[in-house]
């Protein structure tokens, strides 16, 4: 439990409703436009990995965190990867990571050049504790993380019930797939988190 509190590298992925909605080229162009227009984060560069299957198709490299159009397991979505330490306890850090990825999803959804075709599933979230030292992919690790995460999720989904599943493959990082039967959009989710 004590070690889980050390967790700083938090990855959160939200999935595209239409897997074809955002191409690598479009993501590259949009991410590039974010670099000079995102004053509250240091964004550095965009890298194209569309030649590699089921990887980070288009990567927006940042100082505090990276964003990518991620295609792991052929399930495209927006992956937020926190790299630098964030403020607050683990619960606060989980909350701020969720906030960051939802904001980025919202930004993509409202990007004029994408004609409103990009939508994310509000009730389908993957959380990866990207730190094998402090968060092992076992039952104990799962319980420790769930204890911090569930109150945040309860807030996020405004009390709606949700299910959590873990891929127990030992070589994987501790991961929790969260599913909630909600149609909440990004604005609602952000509002819930802020409440």
């Amino acid at each position: 439990m004590g070690l889980m509190q050390e967790l700083q590298r938090i990855n959160i992925k939200m999935y595209l409703e239409d897997p074809e909605a955002l191409s690598a080229e479009e993501a590259f162009r949009v991410f590039n436009s974010w670099i000079p227009t995102t004053p509250d984060e240091v964004l550095i560069d965009v890298a194209d990995y569309s030649h590699v299957p089921e990887g980070p198709v288009t990567l927006l490299v940042g100082h505090e965190a990276n964003y990518s159009l991620d295609n792991d397991h052929a399930e495209p979505g927006l992956l937020y990867s926190r790299k630098r330490p964030a403020e607050g306890d683990l619960s606060a850090r989980l909350s701020s990571a969720l906030q960051a990825v939802i904001k980025a999803c919202q930004r993509l959804e409202s990007e004029p050049s994408l004609d409103g075709k990009v939508k994310f599933r509000g009730g389908d979230i993957l959380l990866v504790a990207n730190d094998r030292l402090n968060a092992t992919n076992d039952e104990e690790g799962e319980n420790a993380l769930r204890a911090e995460l569930e109150p945040v999720l309860a807030k996020l989904f405004a009390g709606a019930s949700f299910a959590i599943e873990r891929d127990t493959t030992s070589q994987l990082r501790l991961n929790l797939r969260v599913r909630c039967d909600t149609n909440a959009n990004a604005a609602t989710l952000l509002s819930n988190l802020a409440a």
């Binding site: 070690l3 050390e6 590298r9 080229e25 590259f28 162009r29 590039n32 670099i35 000079p36 240091v42 550095i44 560069d45 890298a47 194209d48 990995y49 030649h51 590699v52 299957p53 089921e54 990887g55 980070p56 990567l59 490299v61 100082h63 990276n66 990518s68 792991d72 990867s81 790299k83 630098r84 990207n130 730190d131 094998r132 030292l133 402090n134 968060a135 092992t136 076992d138 104990e140 690790g141 420790a144 070589q171 990082r173």
Partner: protein
């Protein structure tokens, strides 16, 4: 659940004591630098020697398509000159001779996930690179590698870099003997060796088992060994035909033969003596002349050889020199399964083509080497972990990386190939065309490299796509050609040794920079990189696919029976090639076709607003640019003269071209500069070299030739001199854009 709070604690006792100590020391140096208690240049060299390299934009600036923006990193500490502390960097990881165990692959995959973004890159020297790493994460990364027997020590910096070897060593049908244990021995011996700590520049070593294959590319290394066997008094003895002073870089040098046969007992002491001579006499101040190739060129091979033997004679005896010979089986591999033939087993669609291009029959019956072709040398953490699993189930962890940025599985029982193919296919790792024209090598270029000028990876992706679409129709004559691309003239993509090579540069059209690639033809991959190509002309990046298409078509239609591509290029002649590609050098104006003004794989470009700012001046080409273009043409003419064996004319033409370009620059400040060469050179030195407006490296090419003109002309020297002249012209363009009136410099 873990009970350790740090990786240092978790891995205590699992890391060799000396390595653990070194990594701890490096961690301390990181703290010292952060507190300002370690000078930044010293820290920079320290981290380089640990494999922690800088990356593009680490100076805190990035062009966003319209203007250069500051990247506002939180603090202003640096980890080297003009290198922000918090800027992401690259970690280079040495893999001697490319050999990897499954556990090592799994750790590499873990590191790419936790410290980077799940991508690993294989380099042209069998290393791995992971990008976008924070400097403060590097000690833990090193500890985790060290715990599985991998070091990043001396992966960069002025040191002995990764020791490479042919990935077929030990299973090759034509090798003299397996060079792997010798590569391993020299790597262990020279790693951190006191005699290798005071080089002016890096030192690269490679080993080959065959003289006539590409193999270890011995001819383009600082030191290259080719396995040889000699019968002495009726006893067969092993040794190496040893080459020294090879190298690519801006001006490639073919290695020179040091000794026809260095017995294996003498391999390590001779290497040590070479290192001592290099450390003692090699250039230290001017990095651009500090590789051993320059020392050997200066001394001459005879004198260099004499000095090395003199040094060898006084070396204190070291038991390590021969200790490894007691157990040459240390790198031997075991087979997991008996070798059995295919036996007509049912196979999936695509298997036959993959088998044709990606499978090599080992000399051991029933076994094959299967190549996992990796586009751009990239592999995801998930793929690498899955490959580790495959390497346990199909073979006994016998995998290696290759200098063509692929991986190979050795000792695969042929009967397992259909199943192996299916599993690789499911992982997206069954790309066909290994070692063919579609298997294009590219350095990182503008994607991540600080020195990249044009997008080598973007171009490689496009060529791979276009050639891949035609692969079924590709003539057998061109299928085996190699294409290699570097993002700049520094040759990390090994373009000089390719049939068709490219290196990135740029030209200005109406004041707007356009990405170009210099076309380099006539290199040879086989014979251990047997010959290097020459620049033929700069072509806009977007026209390069058409360059490949025309060259391939011409070769298919006009080659003589069994004619090699390099011989065909020689027969065709540069004048004819230039004429064939002439129309492709033209760039339409931005208004006509703005596509040319963006690089492959990059959406950044100039907006109409940008164009507006430069329009008033953009349609005028200055006399200065015209003059430099004329000088470039003179370099081309010099290369034609070289082809025609008019060596003196070629040499003089190249010198005249440099003088012309230099005078053009001087004229920008001293309009009435006389034409006398002495005056031009003196004025150029004062105005551009002393002021550092012009690349000192390239300026020295002119100074050396002017001060000490050649009196005897030899093919290799003139070839090299023409390369230098071409680079001088590149430097003149760059300098001119810097100094010229706003007319030319507005969109630099």
């Amino acid at each position: 659940m873990s009970t350790s709070t740090t990786w240092k604690e978790r891995l205590a006792g699992k890391i060799p004591a000396d390595m653990a100590e070194e990594i701890d020391a490096f961690e301390t140096q990181i703290h010292l630098r952060k507190q300002g208690k370690m000078e930044e240049k010293l820290f920079a060299e320290t981290r380089l020697r640990r494999g922690a390299y800088g990356q593009r934009y680490d100076n805190g600036q990035r062009f966003d398509g319209t203007q250069t923006q500051q990247l506002l990193f939180p603090e202003h500490e640096t980890k080297g000159p003009d290198t922000f502390w918090h800027a992401p960097g690259m970690m280079r990881i040495k893999i001697p001779f490319g050999g990897l165990t499954a556990a090592q692959m799994e750790v590499l995959a873990d590191l790419a996930e936790e410290y980077s973004e799940e991508i690993l890159h294989i380099t042209t020297r069998q290393d791995f690179q992971i990008h976008f790493i924070h400097i403060e994460d590097t000690p833990d990364l090193m500890r985790r590698l060290s715990a599985v027997g991998i070091t990043t020590r001396e992966a960069c910096g002025n040191s002995v870099r990764n020791v490479t070897a042919c990935p077929l060593s030990g299973v090759c049908r034509t090798e003299t003997f397996d060079v792997t244990p010798y590569a391993q021995a020299i790597m262990s011996f020279l790693l951190g060796h006191p005699d290798c700590q005071d080089f002016g520049r890096k030192f690269k070593i490679a080993f080959s088992g065959c003289e006539h294959e590409a193999c270890g590319l011995a001819n383009m290394h600082d030191m290259g060994g080719v396995g040889m066997v000699k019968t002495v008094d009726g006893v067969e003895k092993r040794g190496f035909k040893l080459y020294v002073g090879g190298g690519l870089g801006a001006v490639p040098h073919q290695a020179q033969l040091f000794n026809e046969f260095v017995p294996v007992e003498e391999l390590l002491p001779i290497s040590q003596a070479i290192a001592r001579v290099f450390a003692r006499l090699g250039e230290k101040k001017n990095r651009n002349r500090a590789r051993i190739k320059f020392l050997i060129a200066k001394l001459g091979i005879e004198e260099f050889r004499r000095l090395v033997h003199e040094e060898r004679a006084i070396l204190p005896e070291d038991p390590q020199w021969t200790a490894f010979l007691d157990d040459l089986t240390v790198t031997d591999e075991e087979q997991l399964k008996p070798g059995q033939p295919l036996n007509g087993a049912e196979t999936s669609e695509g298997f036959a083509e993959w088998y044709r291009t990606n499978v090599y029959q080992q000399r051991q019956a029933g076994y094959v080497v299967a190549t996992v072709a990796l586009p751009l040398g990239d592999i995801t953490s998930h793929q690498l972990r899955a490959l580790a699993d495959i390497s346990r189930r199909f073979v006994k962890e016998t995998t290696r990386t290759t200098v063509e940025q692929n991986m190979v599985l050795r000792w695969v029982s042929e009967t397992d190939l259909p199943q192996l193919y299916d599993e690789l296919l499911a992982l997206g790792l069954a790309e066909t065309g290994a070692g063919t024209i579609v298997d294009i090598t590219a350095c990182p270029g503008t994607d991540t490299c600080k020195l990249g000028i044009a997008s080598s990876r973007g171009l490689a992706t496009e060529l791979r796509k276009q050639l891949g679409e035609q692969s079924a129709k590709l003539d057998e004559a061109i299928e085996g050609l190699r294409i290699k691309i570097s993002g700049c003239f520094n040759s990390c993509g090994q373009h000089h040794a390719a049939d068709i090579g490219f290196y990135g540069n740029s030209r200005k059209i109406n004041g707007i920079t356009v990405p170009h690639f210099q076309v380099v033809l006539g290199g040879q991959w086989k014979e251990n990189a047997g010959s290097f190509g020459l620049a033929t002309g700069a072509v806009p990046s977007k026209n390069i696919p058409e360059v490949v298409s025309r060259l391939a078509k011409r070769f298919v239609e006009e080659r003589e029976k069994d004619e090699l591509f390099k011989d065909f290029i020689g027969r065709l002649g540069k004048r004819e090639i230039k004429a064939m590609l002439e129309d492709l050098t033209q760039v339409p104006s931005y208004e006509e076709n703005s596509w040319y003004y963006r690089d492959w794989g990059d959406t950044r470009g100039f907006t109409m607003d940008d164009l507006g700012k430069g329009e008033c001046a953009g349609e005028v080409v200055s006399i200065g640019i015209m003059e430099i273009a004329a000088a470039e043409r003179e370099v081309f003419e010099a290369s034609v003269a070289l082809d025609e064996n008019e060596l003196q004319a070629a040499w003089q033409g190249a010198l005249n071209a440099m003088l012309r370009a230099a005078r053009t620059l001087v004229k920008e400040q001293f309009y009435d500069v006389p034409e006398e060469a002495d005056v031009v050179v003196a004025e150029f030195r004062t105005r551009f070299y002393d002021t550092e407006l012009f690349s000192p490296k390239f300026a020295n090419y002119l100074f050396s030739a002017h001060q000490d003109p050649a009196s005897e002309f030899e093919q290799t020297q003139v070839h090299r001199f023409i390369e230098e002249a071409q680079l001088f012209i590149e430097g003149a363009y760059t300098c001119y854009y810097k100094i010229a009136a706003p007319l030319e410099g507005a969109k630099a």
